[in-house]
Point group: C2
Chain length 582, copies 2
Amino acid sequence: MYRTHTNGELRLSDAGKTVTLCGWVQKNRRMGGMTFIDLRDRYGITQLVFNQEINAALCEQANALGREFVIQVKGEVTERSSKNNNILTGEIEIIVSELTILNSSETPPFTIEDNTDGGDDIRMKYRYLDLRRVAVRKNLELRHKMAFEVRRFLDEMGFLEVETPVLIGSTPEGARDFVVPSRMNAGEFYALPQSPQTLKQLLMVSGFDRYFQIVKCFRDEDLRADRQPEFTQIDCEMSFVEQEDILNIFEGMAKHLFKYIKNIDFIGDFPRMTWADAMKYYGSDKPDTRFEMKFVELKEAVSGRNFVVFDSAEYVGGICAEGCAAYTRKQIDELTEFVKRPQIGAKGLVYIKIEADGTPKSSVDKFYSAEDLQKIAALFNAKAGDLILILAGEKAKTQKALCELRLEMGSKLGLRKKDEFSPLWVVDFPLFEFDEETQRLYAMHHPFTSPKPEDIHLLDTAPATVRANAYDMVINGVELGGGSIRIHDSGLQNKMFELMGFTSEKAQAQFGFLMNAFKYGAPPHGGLAFGLDRLVSLFAGLDSIRDCIAFPKNNSGRDVMLDAPSPIDEEQLKELNIALTL
Amino acid sequence: MYRTHTNGELRLSDAGKTVTLCGWVQKNRRMGGMTFIDLRDRYGITQLVFNQEINAALCEQANALGREFVIQVKGEVTERSSKNNNILTGEIEIIVSELTILNSSETPPFTIEDNTDGGDDIRMKYRYLDLRRVAVRKNLELRHKMAFEVRRFLDEMGFLEVETPVLIGSTPEGARDFVVPSRMNAGEFYALPQSPQTLKQLLMVSGFDRYFQIVKCFRDEDLRADRQPEFTQIDCEMSFVEQEDILNIFEGMAKHLFKYIKNIDFIGDFPRMTWADAMKYYGSDKPDTRFEMKFVELKEAVSGRNFVVFDSAEYVGGICAEGCAAYTRKQIDELTEFVKRPQIGAKGLVYIKIEADGTPKSSVDKFYSAEDLQKIAALFNAKAGDLILILAGEKAKTQKALCELRLEMGSKLGLRKKDEFSPLWVVDFPLFEFDEETQRLYAMHHPFTSPKPEDIHLLDTAPATVRANAYDMVINGVELGGGSIRIHDSGLQNKMFELMGFTSEKAQAQFGFLMNAFKYGAPPHGGLAFGLDRLVSLFAGLDSIRDCIAFPKNNSGRDVMLDAPSPIDEEQLKELNIALTL
């Protein structure tokens, strides 16, 4: 062993001990005839002291140490005269008697500090140096701890972690598969799993009863802000359960994590909200419920006043921003610009300010009387000093825009605190989505999602209104996980395929092995999957999942550190029976 | 919840309770006016009883249940008149009052019994039914338990599990990479990791200090008997350590697993054997030390008696099979056939029997006197009743053949018991292998393996004799894990590349990102990796790693259940900028 202690463990009670430490030179500074070095490792920082008068040669050696040199020192633990209460080892320092340079270092391209001078690109290229920064390392330590606690919790609940294969067949799940040419099976390809969905259902057919896996999944998508081509899921499935059982178990898991990791107790059950209410009040299936500011539908209240924007709109709705009546013209204009941005797409923004004396003042005063506006304000329970913001237009699009506006106002008002957590189950998702373009129904989750028994009679007459036994766990507006009760009855399954316009041949070709398996006694089952990256990001208060991934890829799917992907040999292409067609 | 209890938990103390159970119909038999059903789930089997006289309709319904139907029953727990001591629920049965068929089942293609009538191929095709067999499920339960205990142990030792990416760049590690065409980076490919070797070394550069990961690895090799294209490693790395530290930690892990899983205590340290001794005494770098039967080198003892086979041989060696002197001509012939098989390749087999009266009798009596033979026998400490078996020829090949013969005799003599475990560290591996064909040195482990400091002076003069700080853990002749101390000094690393005939350009191209990282303060580090599949197989007493993998692939790398790999659409090929060249 190169060391007797780490740099995080020595305390005043160790004073007098002779110790050997190893680590990286974080800081090297001279004061008078003394040289002080902050020695860093994963566990902390310990101050080393060299005295010119006592050992000039050693002190010279220490002076020559650059940042990030790897050294080993032997010395005596001594009480510090000026203590540092910011670090746990701040009461002691090491009077060094021996120094060995284990490795030198070139000057790193950015400072190894939480507040680094390195930009995103350079930090990604030198990710191994970026990972030395405490803030980044802490995220990965948290990730380890959370994954371990998930395993411990699920193990205690009788779940078995079963590894499913990474080289599988292509399964249609909405996104593109990554594929792997098979050298031994010329012209054929493996696919990397978008999720182990079908495999976990097979494990239920096998009687595994309670399965989980923390597992890499892969989607070859054009990468948006916070997506990675490979990501990690906590994938779970249970047999002989109903939706209620699954919600109970995994709400328990979430509570366990909050308690164990953040010492937060949630009293009572997580609130539940139907998908319909989530859309109605928040315009989103993953509402951020850290704050209220619910949508109020205004179509009825605003119609018939000859304001054509409202009269012609399918939907008129608004939110009430508490205490914002004093917003300036400029501030209102900024909000208007915000909602008119192409990615949000509203045509304009109507406001009603409730002045200090209670009188309303709006951007549509010429269409609405003070009394009209008072009535509208009453629908929001708006009080003096509040600001009502209203959007109108095509329903789905307007709700989405209003959702963005609500989140923006929540942020502006400081209502989206990173250390407050508002969990929620969104339930009763629609079973189908109707696609206007192809004029057919698609499964909202996947084709094995079970309809709610009480809605099954609507499958023939009004399929678009059928609700599914599907659920998402949403915290602070982030969809952390979701799942469903699956169909285990082959009659119902065939009905589903029929409604989605699958011929039985096509259903067989795409889902044959699963449908065959279901012929041999499939139990009632259901499950869900959590995104581990999102879960850790939420707990760490991160803005991007990248910050809790050791070696993430950029928006082009590149690992700039490894310089991957990269071209391969002609020889290898030949062995794989493929050629490039650039 | 569909049930109040599982099929493994009811006891006599539950008698009188009304319970609801779910599961699969394992057996259905009629006796007199009674119908008995064995109901199975993951947790056990519970006997259900239906009485024709009490409820004829219900009994008829029960009689109609086929094997593997999924049912739900409600009934009363009652003491059995004829108890079954083989199962934990054997003292009770359920007098059923309600029966619901949750799902029917076609007759499975093989019996769901440990002693199934299904052959390998059909069981793989219907793996989801094969997994219902208790013997197979137990292996996966063991795998879960072992993986969890490994994590618990390493977490307690301060290791962090860090996920490394699956989509990486190609790294030359001996075997072929599986590659993944990148749609977003036309003409470029990701590679799937053969191991996270370089990434874990980067984590050491990052200061992670103690890393592990239970991780899928991939090798596109022509599959031999017990290889899978994807397999799972327990991958570990530590900083500021020497070989001794690593052996201590992971010997501790192995002991923990033996204690926790199999209740086996190992007293004292695992024995250690140099690679040179392993080759000399067992002809293998992974000797099965459950039994002795060490090689005795005979070249000197047998030379000069005009027996040209021995005189012309580079190597003559033998083993002594205790108590086998009574082997018949036929048995000896079988052994001769065994060693002459092409995959073993010996030319013939010489024997010396030590008769009951102590006189030797051999197949080479015309060359060797009784006194000569006595002298040879003395080298083996052979006693009356023993059989000495001797092979001769080119050294490496003959040692390998003698190793096979020793294992064969060990098996014949019942010396390789599956419930006995003989652990061993093999140490001091050679740093290089010399390849006759290309006339150059190759790294025996990988190019980052550190030479033993005391052998570094030999690098220039006799590189083939330099020993590495490399080690394998071997149990019962299976290499469970191995690793090395890595080079962290760039001067030494360049020397290594030079010795292996790498130009600095080639070294840079292949290992550039790692060598660059090493410029910024790489700590001394080392590690190892265990094969989880092999570890579980050893603990479960399995002959093949396939039996502890949920969905294994066959020898052609196919998953016959999923029918993967498979052709993909022309459209998808086009998107990936590749074409088939069949």
